[in-house]
Symmetry: C2
Subunit: 453 residues, 2 copies
């Protein structure tokens, strides 16, 4: 270990100057989003009322593979980027694997996760067009905390709807958002029509990202000079997150290796896209044959057991219809601690890539995820976010396969965030009170049928 | 901002290979520690029963200015070092100061603070001499978490006594220690003679570092093959922490500047020593005239209102007598959130340096510390530990002076840790329920008189 490097960090001038827009180079483009009323394809201008204009244009851009990172955004990236690429010698040794395991450590961001990579440009573009207020939803609170901070950086007011079960499981995240001056409301709430409808139909509803999105969208629609922002799922979010993979590509080069397998956890797709897309472009050209594995919770298995279908992005049906792998927008995921993965659907780009065989998906039970997270913590010293534990579990599965075959595969996973605000979950795991959750086929079928109907 | 660098990071081969032992170069050496029974000066071998031998030798080494960092320790430093040196442009702008403010960001350590810098070598030296179990005390839990992780790295069992008030204020820190497999007991406890004596004399005693040290020392003394470790105060701890300042010196050079003022918060002295000593050596030679400011809580003012005196390092009187600025070892600090600063005394080196005028001290009220911490969070995006807030407050005082005079002084402070586990304190500050604490002269006088007697 003493001869090889442990961490790879880029000089500031090597921080990417452009994001990679995979839409421009996908062999099969994603299907269009549809207007729910007319069923006609949407264009960027149809969303100008909801999102900042430049974000809408990025959302629909299928021509330019490289999009310039605005200089003020790149300057703010320098607060914490590049994040380190780390060789996980400790984990390799504990597993006794012949695989070379690397992780991209996005947990060193001041907000503790990769979410800041998109929060900064979203707040920037809103500010640039004169918006004063922004709204959003958040699950575990990683996105909400990042957006609250980004809003503060640009002098915007932020209102965040946090999924109720996460709001209660992780009270410190609410405090972090409030420290940056954001207003935080547990969702579903009685402050919106969508929230009222959900709470009257299902009292004590634990919330989900789908319900929180409905509330945040409604607030944006009914507030002057206010735009909505989203932390995952959408194509412009994936675009911003490619800064992760673009850095990782240069850092892997410093290490003299190239990944055979790239792994990330999967909620809506933001951190998976971010690390995977820049490498995937070399698969499109045939130059490389990297495998890309999305690790989703078995309790919310849209990629492994969902249907590719046109569905809403939110519970109330406020969003356009999106072509995606989905469990049905009215699916309420069990209360696993990986709050950031409790979402019924997958982004349109990732859905198309999965359909076309450019990537794979695996599902991970909650207990397997925490077992993996604990091993990682004890060998690498970083307590991973419950979401990231899924990527670690999938990595360990592959590393164990290498152990059997003796192959020296290079595995790169994204450590999307740390778990310091999620210690209650580790407490439960260590005390044996954590469980897995079963989702039966009938529930999924019923939800999907409602949509098809 | 776009033209100048924001963060300075060293290549792995520039991570220091030696620690700086200031004792060898101090114009006036510290007075010796004394055996409480005989009042005779102690030697390294007198402490072999309590600490690892190499640590005892470092403790008393007044001849070698440079001590080699063992290669396995340096390899583990590479897990997170170098930590970034950051130019705080955001804070400068908010203050409208002409000062150049830099901070050394020790919060990026996987355990969230600088404490790992000494936990790793302490666990290493214990392991090297065949020790199987180690004990320690912790306040806010930064040290305990670091030691728990370091123990795990070297396959040692760790038992940690955590100050009761911190154990209750910050439950996640206990969970972090347990995640790494450590046993954690709130102190004072009924598991030691020292704890029993304190709890029978003062029921509901909130604990302090002094009481927790007594318990950990007693456990080490009464357990086979077990050594005690300490996270601050002692000279070998300061030695290990100089990796901070040695890195910072190279990084300031990269920035083309040299600090006029170096600031750190002060509990027992570990992070202050770490950042200050490597710069202070250039003051000894007359080459530089940097000011060094230790920022202590007004509620525990040993440097600004204590007495230079021989005193015990712990409440029960188990330790040697140390020549130090002290409020009396039986002083119970008020329950401020900066648990790591709730200690009655200062390390012997720092005490001598303060006495001889090589450094200064200021006291900071709790509300001023959180006001400073909040401004820092909102401008630099990192939520600082309550301890570190004191350094920020002292930095802001100096920056505001520069604003008045127009001087472009270079201020460097140590961000010893992040406050993500301390969000309850920020909640209280934001809701207006946090207060200052007054310590009256009579209490200090009474404590000191007891010792003199």
């Amino acid at each position: 270990m003493s001869k090889e490097r442990k961490r790879y960090i880029l000089d500031e001038d090597q921080i990417p100057r452009e994001w990679y827009n995979i839409q421009a180079e996908m062999p099969v483009k994603p299907l269009p989003a549809l207007d729910p009323a007319t069923k006609k394809p949407l264009h960027a201008s149809d969303l100008f009322h909801l999102f900042a204009k430049e974000l809408c244009e990025q959302e629909f851009n299928q021509t330019d593979p490289w999009i310039k990172i605005p200089e003020p955004v790149r300057d703010m990236y320098k607060f914490y980027r590049s994040t380190p690429l780390v060789r996980a010698y400790g984990l390799e040794k504990a597993l006794g694997t012949s695989a070379h395991i690397y992780f991209k450590n996005e947990s060193v961001s001041p907000m503790g996760s990769h979410k800041l990579n998109s929060a900064i440009p979203q707040a920037y573009y809103c500010k640039k067009e004169g918006v004063t207020n922004i709204t959003t939803e958040t699950g575990a609170g990683q996105w909400g905390a990042s957006l609250a901070y980004a809003a503060r950086l640009f002098g915007l007011e932020a209102a965040v709807y946090q999924v109720r079960v996460s709001y209660e499981q992780k009270p410190y995240r609410k405090s972090i958002m409030q420290t940056f001056g954001a207003q935080v409301t547990p969702s579903p709430s009685m402050s919106t029509r969508a929230g009222k409808d959900i709470l009257t139909a299902t009292p004590n509803h634990p919330g989900s990202l789908g319900t929180a999105i409905s509330e945040a969208v409604e607030l944006a629609r009914t507030t002057p000079n206010c735009k909505y922002t989203l932390g995952s799922v959408l194509s412009h979010v994936s675009l911003h997150q490619t800064v992760i993979g673009l850095e990782a590509e240069k850092q892997m080069e410093m290490a003299g290796e190239y990944p055979d397998i790239v792994v990330a956890c999967f909620g809506g797709g933001s951190n998976f896209s971010g690390i995977a897309f820049p490498f995937m472009r070399h698969n499109f050209t045939g130059e490389r044959k990297t495998r890309f594995i999305a690790a989703e919770p078995a309790s919310c298995p849209k990629l492994t057991r969902g249907r590719f279908i046109y569905d809403f992005g939110d519970e109330a049906g406020y969003t356009p219809l999106l072509p995606m792998f989905s469990l049905g927008h009215n699916f309420t995921p069990p209360n696993v601690h990986a709050g950031g993965l409790r979402y019924h659907g997958a982004g349109v780009i990732v859905s198309q890539l999965l359909k076309d065989g450019w990537m794979e998906a695996v599902d991970i039970e909650q207990l397997e995820s925490f077992e993996a997270g604990l091993l990682f913590a004890r060998t690498e010293g970083i307590i991973p976010a419950p979401e990231s534990c899924h990527a670690i579990a999938a990595t360990i599965r592959e590393a164990n396969r290498c152990k059997e075959t003796g192959e020296e595969k290079v595995i790169l996973f994204n450590l999307s965030g740390h778990g310091l605000i999620d210690m209650a979950a580790y407490d439960q795991y260590l005390s044996g009170s954590l469980t897995n959750f079963h989702v039966d086929d009938a529930t999924i079928e019923k939800n999907i049928r409602q949509i098809e109907h």
